[in-house]
């Protein structure tokens, strides 16, 4: 999975640990509070044991028991408060880390050119949202538990050893076996666990694949047959997972085994010491109650092993993205963009992706000013690459992109970008008034200019019919307006910005006839004196263009609209 040379194998956990070090203040407070709570637990055991001693051996009056019982309750209240604060400090540490890492991660991803991304959008979105959240248990659970497993058992021993050293020794010697066996078994389980995750995603992928292909399965009368394969794949998954779990549960088994046997041996030793009158019941009972507390932090650590795995898995995804090289997209030139209409010429332009898929080969074509040129091709045919190169998000491997005869590489990037506009299928709108959305990034635009831009984009009438007109609030991503209306608003935005090259992605996809006509009308208005490039994956949706370029496997063919479509 990992192909980043900057990133070596266990960098994930190292990076995560270094992030945790930056949060040490909250983590140390959390651990200190938890240790205090641990000490109180031991004291509580002592009080409880003394109370039993008084009742059983001394036959004390019940009134002597009341204060001790009160202490038990009192200590428990303090302990529970301490544990709540301990959890909250750990949570605060992890919150701080999540906010910081997410912010850095997102900025690091968007600062890299989309052309050099090694992953699709979906895994990147996963990394920023769910991935960062998965770091939480490592910081808020695993690290504190690790510290507690090192400190609390020793503290417990400090209390037990002076009272009854034999029992103390049993505890001392059984304890190291727990981490030892867990590490031994855990190593194997870790590897198996990884494989298992792959299998899980294959299984859920299989079902999803079949469901998306249901229409095809129905056509092929193959639904029942494939249902059998759903069962088969799930059963295979169950059997392989269970064989993994049988091993993984062994580590839990070891843990339980040493804890239980340790406690049992301690009980028997104490019993015989008591029988011989060499130990007081108060001390014996204290050790018996304290014994499970001795093992508890180790067991908790064992249970939070999963948190560690989860955190490391996420860190391995995130760390390389944070530390990726961000090659300068390409050095900006210094020449200004020529004023007026733009004639774009691709001269034998080649650009290929490292994956070998997509890209363009020796593309030779011209986008004249004042026309709408449609670029049509299946996904992966290279049509988006043409757009990316125009936006200056990458430079061609071979050949040149010329703007009125000047190589794009020599042109000032900031100036160039201020002259182009990009309208995707779902244009970007934020929560705010229509006016604010139209003048985003611009200063001092009067309403008359906005109205005339809206008029040219065939958008004035619907904007004025909205409550509040220009002040009407748009929801996120323009919720409240139809797809066609949003695209016309985006076109109005282009009129306002005065861009000279406009790239549109599927401007009429998903529109009904009426809105399609309106969008086409505003596009026609836009094309006067401007260069318009429409990219689309179906030829028939680009029927309104003046020229049609067809992309097949990275190569361009100019299509004569009248010949290919005959009477159509």
């Amino acid at each position: 999975m990992n192909t980043n040379p900057l990133y070596s194998d266990n960098r994930g956990e190292k990076w995560l640990f270094s992030e945790a070090l930056a949060l040490r203040r909250n983590l140390i407070i959390s651990i200190t509070l938890a240790v205090l709570g641990g000490v109180l637990t031991i004291i509580q055991a002592k009080v409880l044991a003394s109370a039993c001693y008084l009742i059983i051996i001394k036959h004390s009056d019940i009134r002597l028991i009341f204060p001790l019982a009160g202490w038990v309750l009192c200590i428990a209240c303090i302990r529970s408060t301490l544990s709540w604060f301990a959890e909250m400090y750990a949570a605060a540490a992890s919150s701080e880390m999540k906010i910081k890492v997410r912010s850095r991660l997102y900025r690091s991803i968007i600062s890299a050119s989309p052309l050099t991304r090694r992953m699709g959008t979906a895994p990147l979105v996963e990394a920023v949202s769910q991935g960062v959240d998965s770091l939480d248990p490592y910081i808020s659970r695993f690290l504190p538990n690790l510290a507690l497993a090192a400190v609390l058992p020793l503290l417990c021993l400090l209390f037990v050893l002076p009272v009854e050293w034999r029992a103390g020794l049993v505890l001392l010697f059984s304890a190291p076996f727990i981490p030892l066996f867990m590490i031994l078994i855990g190593k194997g389980a870790e590897e198996l666990n990884r494989k298992q995750w792959v299998r899980l995603s294959i299984m859920s992928g299989h079902l999803f694949d079949l469901i998306r292909g249901l229409p095809d399965l129905k056509i092929c009368s193959a639904v029942k047959r494939e249902a059998a394969s759903v069962v088969r794949v799930s059963e295979e998954y169950r059997i392989s997972t269970m064989s993994v779990l049988r091993v993984a549960f062994l580590s839990a088994f070891t843990l339980e085994f040493f804890t239980t046997v340790g406690t049992a041996v301690v009980a028997v030793i104490i019993g015989f010491r008591l029988l011989n009158g060499e130990l007081e019941l108060a001390d014996g009972l204290f050790i018996l109650i304290a014994a499970p507390e001795f093992y508890l932090p180790l067991r908790t650590l064992g249970l939070s092993y999963h948190s560690r795995m989860q955190g490391i898995a996420a860190a391995e995804q995130i760390a390389p993205l944070l530390f990726q090289e961000n090659p300068e997209i390409h050095a900006s030139g210094t020449l200004p963009v020529p004023a007026g209409g733009l004639i774009i010429a691709y001269e034998k332009v080649t650009f290929r992706y490292p994956s070998g898929r997509g890209g363009i080969v020796g593309a030779d074509f011209v986008l004249p000013s004042g026309t709408i040129t449609a670029l049509v091709g299946e996904s992966g045919s290279g049509k988006s690459t043409v757009a990316w190169l125009l936006l200056g998000l990458a430079s061609p491997e071979a050949g040149r992109v010329l703007v009125n005869g000047t190589d794009l590489r020599d042109i000032d990037t900031v100036d160039w970008r201020s002259r182009i506009a990009w309208i995707p299928q779902t244009p970007f709108f934020f929560c705010g008034s229509i006016r604010d959305n139209l003048i985003i990034g611009l200063t001092a635009v009067d309403d008359d200019s906005i109205r005339s831009a809206l008029d040219s984009a065939a958008a004035l009438s619907f904007v004025e019919s909205q409550p509040g007109g220009l002040d009407c609030l748009l929801g996120d991503r323009g919720a409240g307006l139809s797809g066609g209306e949003l695209r016309r608003l985006a076109i109005a935005r282009v009129f306002l910005r005065g861009a000279d090259l406009i790239i549109l992605d599927e401007p009429t996809a998903g529109l009904d006839r009426q809105s399609e006509l309106l969008v086409c009308k505003s596009l026609k208005n836009l094309s006067f004196g401007r260069t318009v490039l429409v990219i689309s994956h179906r030829e028939e949706t680009a029927g309104f263009a003046d020229r049609l370029l067809r992309f097949i496997d990275g190569r361009v063919q100019e299509v004569s609209i009248s010949e290919e479509y005959g009477n159509a």
Partner: protein
């Protein structure tokens, strides 16, 4: 709750395993509590014996301690295996149940869900239901049964102590989690909503990056994401706080139980109703049995999320089929002439796509359907495939489509849909979906007629090349031709091909159309295309819209 019940009913066949897992869980808790009880009683009795010098038979209790220690450890291992096994069996039952439920809903109903939404329902929600049994049902049932059994056990020795223990267990296992659930439900919903918003905002920022750069809005968007991230993290912190309260509450109620037992027990001992060692036994037993209640708050906290997943899954599964099968289906006709009479269709909430459309396709006719985008060509194909309900009349061999089951009808028809799906498997299996037993000769002739032969020959692994989402990527044109080969291998009388040549250069396009028409001699062909080449090879051209 009804949604959860539906999910539980869907996996009825696994109830036996599920119950076994719960019972073994109860046995493990019993072994552990008894281990502590016997140990406590043993120690106290040994101390009493040591003081009073009365002889005490220590063989039985020390043997019991060893036996309980081993049965607890081994029992826990077996419990884990059985519960996990049951969870996976249930999950595979759930998958097949959902698949069969969804089959009649595709595509008319499923397309209303965005592919991201559908994918998260089918992947995330189904997987999260894995935890329904393991993390919710099993701990809750184990907890309730253990509480009842523990109370009965203690009541055998001392009724007042049993009452104290029962109340403490009910408070920590049921009342406390119920109270906290209200708190956590609010924050849980908040965090789910923020997480969803964050996901779409991040996805917008990453995929729409170019537009944001050109608008100069990159930083503005990033700050919005930061603000949302802070909101999400703060509601997660509040959830963590509720979780921590559950832990703290458990500590206090355990201590309250021990205090209560100590006092009532001390009173019983002083009245001679109970011996001292028995008091120690009950104290340690009670402390250990709290383990059963300990799993319940977490289970209750997960309940709302599981309910939401179950709701999202059952909402899909319970939808009424958009194209229902007839109650008493008509037999398949012998003739395969098709006739559309006065057919109308509108997508919900839109103006009609087709209105009053009529067309006759006698058996063996070759007809091309052309027209601008959105004119209803593909809709017509989908009506014929029974993917959409229609108004008016469509008959095959004189029988109304509504009187046939979709399964029967589709044995007559073979089709290349508008957006064919390529399955995550080899090219060979993709081509033989309809006909897994096709011979190599049959496959290569279909591959040849679909003009896939050269492309497949150029692949190092040929027909065995893996394609689809996880395999080698195929272009849209290749995908369409794989679908053409798939359709040609099907033994059908009627062929509906929707834009089979899109993405092909004109020369290959003509080759494909020529080979396909030669192969389909005598069969009915409905060819949907906007290209000139398609118009040339058919008998009749129908313009629509």
């Amino acid at each position: 709750m009804r949604e959860l019940l539906k999910i539980v009913m869907a996996v009825r066949s696994q109830w036996g395993w599920m119950a076994a897992g719960i019972l073994i869980g109860v046995a493990v808790i019993a072994a552990n509590s008894l281990l502590m009880a016997v140990s406590g009683w043993f120690i106290a009795s040994m101390a009493v014996a040591g003081v009073t010098k009365v002889s005490f038979n220590y063989f039985v209790p020390s043997a019991a301690i060893r036996a309980l220690a081993i049965s607890r450890t081994v029992g826990r291992y077996i419990e884990r295996l059985v519960t996990h096994g049951a969870a996976f069996r249930a999950l595979s039952g759930l998958r097949i149940w959902l698949f069969l439920k969804l089959a009649p809903l595709s595509p008319a109903l499923l397309e209303r869900y965005s592919s991201g939404d559908l994918s998260s329902r089918l992947r995330f929600d189904i997987d999260s239901l894995e935890s329904l049994y393991l993390r919710i049902i099993a701990p809750l049932f184990t907890g309730v049964i253990s509480i009842a059994a523990a109370t009965l056990f203690v009541a055998f020795w001392s009724k007042p102590v049993a009452v104290v223990l029962f109340f403490a267990l009910i408070v920590s296992g049921l009342l406390l989690p119920l109270a906290l659930r209200r708190l956590s439900a609010v924050h849980g919903r908040e965090s789910a909503v923020s997480a969803g918003e964050l996901r779409s905002l991040v996805s917008e920022g990453i995929s729409g990056g170019a537009e944001l750069i050109l608008l100069g809005a990159v930083e503005m968007h990033a700050e919005k994401i930061d603000a949302l991230s802070a909101r999400l993290v703060s509601s997660q912190e509040k959830l963590a706080s509720v979780g921590a309260m559950a832990v703290s509450g458990l500590t206090v109620s355990l201590a309250a139980a021990l205090t209560g037992i100590l006092i009532t027990g001390a009173a019983s001992v002083s009245h001679g109703e109970m011996t001292g060692p028995q008091l120690v036994m009950l104290l340690l037993f009670s402390a250990a049995v709290f383990e059963a209640a300990g799993g319940m708050p977490a289970a209750m906290q997960m309940l709302p999320a599981a309910k939401e997943s179950a709701r999202r899954i059952t909402e899909l599964a319970d939808a009424a089929p958009p194209v229902p099968d007839p109650l008493s289906p008509a037999p398949l006709p012998a003739d395969t002439g098709i006739s559309f009479r006065n057919v109308s269709f509108a997508y919900p909430g839109s103006s009609p796509v087709l209105s009053g459309f009529s067309l006759e396709l006698p058996k063996g006719a070759k007809v091309a359907l052309t027209g601008r985008s959105g004119s209803g060509k593909s809709t017509l194909a989908q009506i014929l495939l029974r993917f959409r309900e229609y108004k008016g009349s469509v008959t095959v061999g004189g029988v109304e489509l509504k009187h046939l089951t979709a399964d029967d009808l589709l044995t007559l028809i073979s089709a290349v849909p508008q957006n064919p799906h390529i399955f995550n498997t080899s090219i060979r299996k993709n081509i033989t979906v309809a006909n897994p037993d096709a011979s190599n000769e049959e496959i290569s002739s279909a591959v040849y007629d679909a003009v896939l032969d050269e492309w497949i020959a150029s692949l190092p692994e040929g027909l065995e090349t893996m394609v689809g989402e996880m395999g080698c990527a195929v272009s849209g044109g290749e995908a369409r031709r794989i679908a053409v080969a798939r359709a040609l291998l099907q033994k059908a009388e009627i062929f509906v091909l929707d834009e089979p040549t899109e993405g092909l250069d004109p020369e290959s396009e003509r080759t494909l159309l020529a080979r396909v028409t030669r192969r389909l001699k005598g069969k009915t062909l409905l060819l949907i295309s906007h290209r000139q080449a398609a118009v040339e090879i058919v008998d009749t051209v129908v313009r629509i819209g």
